[in-house]
């Protein structure tokens, strides 16, 4: 019993919080001003608790397992959610249904936890849906906005479609191997054409969740339509969680097909980076811009995925951590500005530095981090991804990857340029930044600056493999 608690402690604590919120909601309504700090404290506690009482083991007849690496991944996601609750506080405070929002978000998070820990295709499927459906509902949270509803609609339909494909693939796998248990599957796969077909169906569903080209098309629309809190959740937490399980699947389960999926990953990594970058080049809306940039980032994650070794896993986990800081800082700044002024276009950011130096520096830091420029952590994150990926000595691949760094730098610089250099007669007026947002942005900024320098973080993650 004791083991049950310690193995599932992340999920249990989260469930506890969900129930707490439910009770609060059922009971007399609590004002947002009091509820939000409470939630933030709870999330912080949740995050901190993640570092205690860790154990490795299996549960539910090998349907669920956990290792210290998985706990680490969950912690990183917890941190991300906590940061979202901080940096998007302004928007959250105003929303009508704060408790529901967090209910949905935490349910999705719970789904992700199970997904990461799943050792069975059934539980994987269940948790995947649990991690998706609430997010679609969240995407529609700007109830008055048509774009919000449109984005949510696109998301739920597309993801249902991809679920269909995924399930079709799973059914074929089941048909050919007779097992849905992941550890068993690893031994049962024999690369028959039907299995490869099934694998590609399966893979496509992952690609959809990760926004890999050409399965990425929903991403930008949903990101743009959704409230920024949801966009940031989608872009960092969802991506991170799926990336984690994706690697587990490829490295553990589909190891017999490694030669196939290596090619697949290389081709798609290049396509994703190139297309993501090209689309990001010409975006005006900051959310849409970040959406495409996050697509390009996924391309880089795939580079490490192609390595097929523990270095790749470590690098991805590390990158997701860095990415959470960087992207949330960018989204945080965008959230503040959108919330206070309603401006979402990059052109509106012109001359921002004159009026809002703090926001400008945070934005600059985050964008440089996303572009992979030192001294930000993004440099280390990206470099390690590429280092891991170059273990196969596939130089052309690495050169293409490296060249994509240039394109991505170009569009990140576009924003920097707008913020710092361009003149604007009507810049964003100075905005007051509330305490939680400031705290969140500062944490992100600090994370961007020091995560890279503190090399033991990476080494620690590496020891968890």
């Amino acid at each position: 019993m004791n083991e049950f608690f310690s193995l599932m402690k992340s999920e249990l604590v989260l469930t506890g919080i969900i129930f707490l919120l439910l009770f609060i909601k059922i009971g007399k309504g609590v004002k947002n001003e009091t509820l939000l700090p409470l939630i933030q404290v709870l999330l912080l506690a949740n995050f901190l608790f993640g570092f205690f009482l860790n154990k490795q083991g299996r549960l539910f007849g090998d349907m669920y397992y956990t290792t210290s690496l998985i706990v680490m991944q969950k912690n990183i996601l917890n941190l991300g959610v906590y940061l979202i609750s901080l940096v998007c506080a302004d928007w959250l405070k105003k929303t009508q249904h704060l408790a529901e929002f967090f209910l949905l978000m935490l349910s999705a998070l719970l789904g992700m936890f199970f997904m990461i820990s799943s050792a069975n295709l059934l539980i994987f499927y269940l948790s995947l849906e649990l991690a998706t459906i609430p997010v679609a509902a969240m995407a529609n949270f700007d109830l008055e906005k048509k774009t919000s509803a449109e984005g949510a609609m696109k998301m739920i339909l597309s993801s249902a479609f991809s679920s269909g494909i995924l399930l079709f693939g799973i059914s074929l796998i089941y048909g050919t191997t007779g097992s849905i248990s992941l550890p068993q599957l690893g031994q049962l796969l024999d690369n028959s054409p039907l299995q490869i077909l099934a694998f590609i169906f399966f893979f496509a569903a992952f690609a959809f969740k990760l926004s890999i080209v050409p399965f990425h098309l929903w991403t930008a629309d949903v990101y743009e339509g959704s409230p920024i809190a949801v966009t940031s959740f989608l872009s960092v937490i969802s991506k991170g969680a799926v990336a984690f399980i994706f690697m587990t699947m490829l490295f553990r389960v589909f190891q017999p097909m490694a030669h196939i999926w290596y090619q697949l990953v290389v081709v798609l990594a290049i396509a994703t980076m190139v297309i993501g970058n090209l689309f990001a080049l010409r975006q005006q809306n900051i959310k849409r811009f970040l959406a495409f940039s996050s697509i390009a980032q996924v391309g880089f994650i795939l580079v490490a995925v192609s390595s097929n070794d523990p270095m790749g896993i470590t690098s991805v986990v590390y990158f997701v951590l860095v990415y959470i800081f960087s992207n949330l800082a960018a989204f945080g700044v965008a959230a503040v500005i959108t919330e206070k002024t309603g401006k979402e276009n990059i052109d509106d950011y012109k001359g921002l530095y004159k009026t809002n130096p703090f926001l400008s520096w945070i934005l600059a830091l985050s964008l440089f981090s996303l572009a992979g420029i030192p001294p930000t952590a993004g440099f280390f994150g990206k470099l390690f991804l590429i280092t891991a990926g170059s273990a196969n000595a596939n130089y052309w691949f690495i050169i293409v990857v490296a060249l994509n760094l240039i394109v991505s730098l170009y569009y990140y610089l576009r924003v920097i340029r707008a913020v710092f250099m361009d003149k604007n007669d009507n810049p964003v007026e100075p905005v007051t930044i509330s305490a939680p947002v400031r705290l969140g942005l500062l944490i992100c900024g600090a994370g961007i600056v020091i995560t890279g320098m503190l090399s033991w973080i990476y080494d620690y993650i590496y020891t968890l493999k």
């Binding site: 459906i133 949510a152 007779g178 930008a220």
Partner: protein, 104 residues
């Protein structure tokens, strides 16, 4: 009368799958599209059951899977319909072609 074999059922399920896909790709009405999605899921259900019965008769995994798929599909549909309703509120239409503002 011939007992229907695995391939018969698979044929049906694949047909169902593609009918679903076709419906999803061509219908304008969001609800119909949702229904098409259900067809896809049902084809998968058929698959699972068929595999379970004909290929792996000793196992129960396929059956369980099917049950969960049905449950999840219901949940999914619920959320989807809620979203569609909300879309209808602001859009006065459930035609998918009227929800194309987000692009490029």
């Amino acid at each position: 009368m011939m007992e229907p074999g695995l391939y018969h059922i698979l044929t049906v399920s694949i047909a169902l799958f593609f009918i679903g896909v076709m419906g999803f790709l061509t219908r304008r009405n969001l609800i119909t599209m949702l229904m098409s999605l259900e067809l896809i899921l049902n084809s998968v259900n058929l698959n699972f059951i068929a595999f379970n019965k004909y290929v792996w008769p000793g196992k129960m995994d396929g059956l369980f899977f099917t049950i969960f798929i049905i449950a999840i599909a219901a949940a999914e549909a619920a959320v989807a319909i809620a979203i569609i309703i909300n879309l209808y509120r602001s859009n006065q239409s459930i035609d998918v072609t009227n929800a194309e503002d987000l692009k490029y």
